[in-house]
Symmetry: D2
Subunit: 302 residues, 4 copies
């Protein structure tokens, strides 16, 4: 049946302990694993091993991102398709990667390493599967229930957007076209959400942000309270997107990677028609309340 | 790829004009079609012809409910599967039903008539597909963006629950087992929601309620304000479910059909493990704040 | 200038330790003092010594409630006025009562002991007075910022309501009149709130509930989550009052005293005209969403 | 008993019809009166004749602001006090001003004309005083229930702040001191709110903004939706103040006067201790989430 969820984002940070402190105390994730140079985090309502891996490196950046597929033989089918599309595919054996089984990796036309994985170690969520209460009483920090999506850059958005649609069966929910009709933003989904991944024109290989889900506009305020209390640098928000209609705050982890908390938006089904934005409305598309992009938002990435 | 959305619920009412007044002025739906004995309604963010059809009849009841399938040949495949499961299937030709193409209908083990449809007339939503604002400024009443799910009764929940899983490829997100381990509630989904349909032990053929989505807990309050202002009888709520974790109000349309507005809850993926409730927690399962079911909730259906 | 705030409610409980556990862990108050048979509690945003005192006693009940006056000589003036109204007044010397200076006490026509106090020990809130953040990060439980009001019974509401207006300078914001035009509910205020105290027809000397302020409708939901998680018996709510327009949950502490969390409502100024409700709208007056009073709400008091 | 409410703000606009369109359709006020060169507006939950008057003038500016006093002889007493403080006082006879009786006017040390009024024509709110529902169903635009406060500039904040405390009996809730200990912001109240008026160092006679109350954080979002939908220029927000702890959006009416919607904050009583901010925290004091003042916020006034 194909891809159904963003599995994890693997980033690099110059300070592992600072990352551990921030992602547990401020973002409110749980640590689900550690190696000598990596820490793995998960959200309280996720059952898979991790949704975020941070690796020690002198530079701040992104190693790869992984999506999860529904059936074991999906890996074979995607390998065939991706190679047919001209991209070399690398197999990663079970056991090579912490917390997951066999996977395939390949470099996207946008320069990012992408991974598809089927088998992920189940470590369980914070709620029991027998008579669960609807809340976890002792959460710390923002504590999003799950990761939601990521946004990366591409020099040629149409190329990678087509790859996601044609080869990976993603659906294009929204796009922004510049004055010449060239696609500079593409939002793509596989899980009845406005986006699981988005591409924005920019340097190949760069990460703009990854995003965590919050249930409610009031949780967005609470997140802002926690961020400001902890002295975290807020980039933009609380505000609302035109694209997706969702509510949002962008901010930077202490090492410099942009995070987002996101709430709301519609639920696209397979018959959802693509929404198109034109360049003259780019400001409203990205930040509906402000109507303009700040310089930092448009230019800072990792 | 199969079923992906609750398409429409077809109910009967003794007073068409009262139904029209309530579903437009209080619930805030749009009328998308009328015949001599039927009115068709849709939500502002839905693009298909209707999510609710009311037919004039002296009794209050349910004619059928319809789900939408992804591909034209899904109808053939489901026809084969359903007949193989021993249920007769009836073809409805394109043009026979208002607003939709060919469909198949069959009677469930729970006595309900169910329909599968692929082609539905697109009448469009209230927002444009080019540079849409995130809000519609002139909505009236509660104005939910879309229908969410329905809950019906079955004398034998396990039988119809198995049919939905085995034949229709639904996933069982939550169940309640009585003291003898017999399944008396089954929540089933096909669209990354806690439920698209649910079965609760009770008389075959009966409708408990259908439900509209709201984005936020504050919209739940606003719905309660509007309902009470209009003198609509609130059954239970605002409150929260243990099952689904969602926020809810149950209430009755003026003809007597129970409606719900629903918000929140988790997003199950294909790897979501079934949550099980035991009978001693049935009160918390259904109404987490109250911890008990009121008599009316447990016994009134249409 | 007279009375400006509900200072504290003094109740009796059969189990001091259970009271301590509930009012700190679930309600989220701080303990500000203890004697051999009493515990004193305060809210995080209050600076006075306590807003709630619980005294050990075999019965659950109310000892008294206290309001705070603006100026030292207000005590003298009120003593004169109250005695002129025919009620004996008792002086309580500074040092006799934990956490407060001299006060006067008197028995209301409704049989309750009321106290007026000017000097209260300042123990400070949880936020500093220099560069305070807007949030306290480590609050536990519901954690209301302050006490808001109390509601007590009176056999003759008009009599005690007149006393509060004529002698204590309260303003009547809302009243309910029965079919014969007899006042059976009176809401009275001294601090730009819908009520600081309310009287409802019922047995003299009885307490219906006291109430804590919450800032927002979402905090009402969060309170419901916490109450239900802790197995606290919710009486009614989340819902909305017609009287005051406020949002509310009523619930019982584990010893049996009814508590409320309250949010919203208007801000009456001295020129606020009294709102009148008639008996046929009593249900909407008290619970606007339900439109009816449950038996327990109308009959259980302590 | 003195001053108890901001009564009205009188501004000038170059386009009366544009002002009428904006303040009714976007802000959602009601027009309560018109003359050849003035329009008077009120909020739906206010009963007095107006809270905002706009006068046609080529420049955008402020004519005066008025506060309401509790008793007829308060005007005499304040006249005496104000003249004793060295400020000339002008009597305005009943009938001279639309919608109000006799008043006194005087020029503040900050160069603003201030008015005190006792008698204001009661035109009533949108809700009845008999059995009122808690909501008005047909409101348009943001529709705040009432005006809340205003913020004006003063070259010498301490001077006017002292005048408000010593002569007009306001209480100082919060202040910001610069590095030399000089007061550059003063928040002052008379009605159990964080501020009824505030002074910020700047050019004498200038208006920074006036502000309308909203009940809830969700209403702040809804206001942002409405503002952006109508193309209104948002200055800052939705965000949160350190000063007052309130939630806010600043924006400009189409003629250029800054408006605010405001929600939350504490309720100061007469024993509320003044909160002090130091210059190094000025950013957090004003915009807690951003931590900095934007140039426009700090420099644009009318």
């Amino acid at each position: 049946m194909g891809i159904y969820r963003l599995s994890h984002v693997d980033i690099t940070v110059p300070d592992l302990e600072l990352a551990a402190a921030y992602y547990t105390q401020v973002m409110g994730l749980d640590i689900s694993g550690r190696t000598s140079d990596r820490i793995f985090f998960k959200c309280w309502d996720e059952r898979d091993h991790h949704c975020l891996a941070v690796r020690h490196d002198t530079r701040v950046g992104i190693d790869r991102f992984a999506f999860k597929v529904d059936r074991p033989d999906d890996l074979d089918e995607f390998e065939t398709r991706i190679e047919a599309a001209g991209l070399p595919v690398q197999r990663v054996s079970a056991g090579e990667e912490v917390g997951q089984g066999e996977s395939i990796r390949f470099e996207l036309p946008s320069g990012h390493e992408m991974e598809l994985v089927h088998e992920v170690e189940k470590v369980g969520g914070r709620l029991p599967l027998l008579n669960p209460p609807p809340i976890v009483p002792d959460l710390v920090g923002i504590a999003p229930p799950r990761i939601d999506h990521l946004l990366v850059h591409a020099e040629e958005v149409p190329e990678v957007s087509r790859f996601f649609q044609d080869v990976l069966d993603f659906r294009l929910t929204e796009q922004l076209l510049d004055g010449g009709g060239h696609q500079t933003i593409a939002f793509l989904e596989r899980s009845a959400k406005p986006h699981d991944i988005a591409f924005v024109q920019g340097p190949n290989g760069a990460l703009h942000h990854f995003s965590f889900w919050l249930d409610d506009w009031d949780h967005i305020r609470r997140a802002a309270d926690i961020l400001a209390f902890n002295g975290i640098s807020i980039d933009v928000g609380p505000t609302r997107h035109g694209l997706t209609r969702g509510n949002t705050i962008y901010f930077f982890d202490p090492m410099g990677t942009r995070n987002e908390v996101f709430s709301g938006g519609y639920r696209p089904d397979p018959d959802f028609p693509t929404i198109t934005w034109t360049d003259d409305r780019a400001g409203r598309a990205v930040f509906y309340y402000e109507g303009t992009l700040n310089e930092r938002f448009a230019t800072v990435h990792t």
